[in-house]
């Protein structure tokens, strides 16, 4: 027995403390939920809010540490730590906008927050892992709760249909992703990124790995919603509960992009020119199709879905630049994107009232007269999404574009700038509807307090970090040094 264990190093458990805490909070919510009376179900949400604050500060203490443990499968570095901090900030806001929304939809159950917590655990594993199988486990731990969340209002046929579409696409693509992993394993003899990079350094480039790289991009591309796999996005975003849409459109997308970045940078380093070409094509297509299709939409959730597809294209530019500025601008863009996109969906929730989902363009009609402050805040988010100066969206786009410029992708840059101009049109369709059209007399706005807090918080962050981006920039620079610092 002692001989058997002699060569095995005991893993450093301290590296996974945030994951364990998140898991415990999720289980705790499930356990105490049955004992909470039906009118006080909000308590679950408060526990989740408190949990994300605790997790934020616990994870903050990991900043600057660098631990690689569990047999080179799990790594705590500045990149993964800042990604986790991002998840907690974004999830905090998502819970805030969910509190009242779920009551309005009459499905205020504790499972919602538990599933959110479990999905978060999956994403935390995804950004920390250094092994393809760990990526897969993290991806599925994230995806299975997401399928359930998309169909959370199960008596609503739109919600159920969106869940089924999401599930079928997700499971199908995860099969393709796994085949990519199997090919990598067959070609290199390991699923660890360290071993893959070592093998390709010694033995040169293996043609099977070219196929594997594409299959892995496909598998993660579903959550990113990049072009050949974007068909689910508008349907699911429209049908799912709006708070879940806000979550799906931001957090899993960011987790998948961070995972793709790590796989390509650390595992397939020597294939850089090849995957840069693949991503060039995908990014260009994603930007064009996302922005052009968004123009003809008249459902705001659907329009924002296509806009989030387009934003995925901009984010892919950060990966394919393959330089330090690319990674730091990408991390900055993640934060920027979460503020403005969750904000825009929060406004849709703000408009939710009796019999009105708030996602049609007509629901925004004359909002400037009914609620001038909400209309102004929506304009801030739209300006930021379009990338107009005093906002985070501008700084993020500027950084990503300059990273692509530095790497010499001029034509991609041209496509990105042109499609950004197109995006102004459909964002301002909403603004025009709010300011230039007369309001329709219907149900009064409910103006729930928790949603109000979330919207103002996000609007303030959108403007403040647009004018003074240094705090997030510092974090982004720290995380970029993980890949290019040495």
């Amino acid at each position: 027995m002692s001989n058997f264990l002699a060569g095995i190093q005991f893993p450093d458990i301290t590296a996974i403390i945030p994951e364990v805490i998140a898991l415990i909070i999720g289980c705790l919510i499930l356990l105490i939920d049955p004992f909470i009376p039906k009118q006080k179900k909000r308590l679950n949400g408060y526990i989740a809010l408190f949990g994300f604050v605790v997790l934020f500060f616990v994870t903050l203490s990991y900043l600057g540490k660098s631990i690689v443990t569990f047999f080179d499968m799990f790594s705590v570095d500045n990149f993964s730590t800042s990604m986790k901090l991002f998840f907690f900030v974004a999830n905090f806001v998502v819970v805030l906008i969910s509190l009242r929304y779920l009551e309005m939809e009459d499905s205020n159950l504790g499972e919602y927050y538990a599933l959110l917590m479990f999905a978060t655990v999956g994403m935390m594993v995804m950004v920390s892992s250094k092994d393809l199988i760990m990526f897969y486990i993290g991806l599925e731990t994230m995806a299975i709760p997401l399928y359930v969340l998309a169909g959370f209002i199960r008596m609503n046929e739109r919600s159920a249909e969106s869940a089924l579409k999401y599930l079928l696409m997700g499971v199908f693509v995860s099969g393709i992703f796994l085949y990519g992993i199997a090919l990598t394993y067959g070609a290199t003899g390991s699923t660890k990124l360290v071993d893959i990079v070592r093998f390709t350094y010694i033995n040169g480039v293996n043609p099977i790995l070219f196929v594997a790289i594409i299959l892995i991009a496909c598998g993660l591309g579903l959550e990113i919603a990049m072009v050949p796999f974007h068909f689910w996005a508008p349907d699911v975003y429209e049908g799912a509960p709006t708070s879940v849409t806000a979550f799906i459109s931001v957090v899993p997308k960011v987790a998948a992009i961070a995972a793709l970045l790590r796989v390509y940078f650390e595992g397939f380093t020597f294939f850089a020119p090849y995957w840069q070409t693949v991503l060039w094509l995908l990014s260009a297509l994603t930007m064009i199709i996302g922005n052009v299709t968004a123009v003809v939409q008249d459902n705001v959730k659907r329009m924002l879905a296509y806009s989030s597809v387009a934003h995925a294209g901009y984010m892919l530019m950060g990966i394919l630049s393959f330089n330090e500025l690319g990674v730091s601008s990408l991390v900055y863009y993640f934060f920027a994107y979460s503020f403005m996109n969750i904000g825009a969906f929060a406004l849709v929730i703000y408009l939710r009232r009796k019999n009105i989902v708030g996602d049609r363009l007509e629901d925004f009609r004359g909002l400037a007269q009914k609620d001038p402050i909400a209309a102004l805040v929506m304009v801030v988010f739209l300006l930021s999404l379009a990338g107009v100066p005093p906002t985070v969206g501008f700084v993020g786009k500027f950084l990503i574009f300059s990273a692509a410029l530095k790497a010499g992708f001029y034509w991609l840059l041209v496509i990105a700038v042109v499609t950004s101009v197109i995006s102004l049109y459909y964002y301002f369709k909403i603004a025009r509807s709010m300011y230039l059209e007369e309001p329709v007399a219907d149900e009064p706005l409910l103006q729930p307090l928790s949603v109000k807090i979330a919207i103002f918080l996000l609007a303030i962050l959108t403007v403040v970090f647009g004018v003074y981006p240094t705090p997030i920039m510092n974090l982004a620079d720290l995380s970029a040094k993980v890949f290019f610092g040495y």
Binding site: Y136, E161, L164, G175, Y185, G186, S190, E238
Partner: protein
């Protein structure tokens, strides 16, 4: 001993059958079965590679895959039940409320 090329070819064929089934069939259950076939093709590939490389890791990975597939199937069937109550149909073509 069966050469690894044959095992790989076998898994590729199974994978393509699963892919074709998942893409062409209109019944949700058949689609899910096609996807399961894809996952099983992956398991065959892993085990085949593991035995040819003499590396134990590839034989453990299918256990993870099977576990995840079971979770996916459980959630998937629950969602199919939920949508069947609304629509009284399991044909994919009838799920067409959400489209542009």
């Amino acid at each position: 001993m069966i050469p690894v090329n044959v095992i790989f070819l076998y898994s590729l064929i199974i994978f393509c059958i699963g892919l074709w089934g998942a893409l062409s069939r209109r019944n949700v259950f058949i689609v899910l079965m096609g996807i399961e076939l894809m996952l099983n093709a992956v398991n065959i590939a892993f085990v085949g590679f593991a035995s040819s490389l003499g590396n134990i890791a590839g034989q453990i990975i299918p256990i993870f895959v099977i576990t995840v597939a079971a979770g996916e199937a459980a959630v998937g069937l629950a969602i199919v039940v939920a949508i069947f109550r609304n629509r009284l149909s399991i044909n994919i073509d009838s799920f067409n409320i959400l489209k542009w």
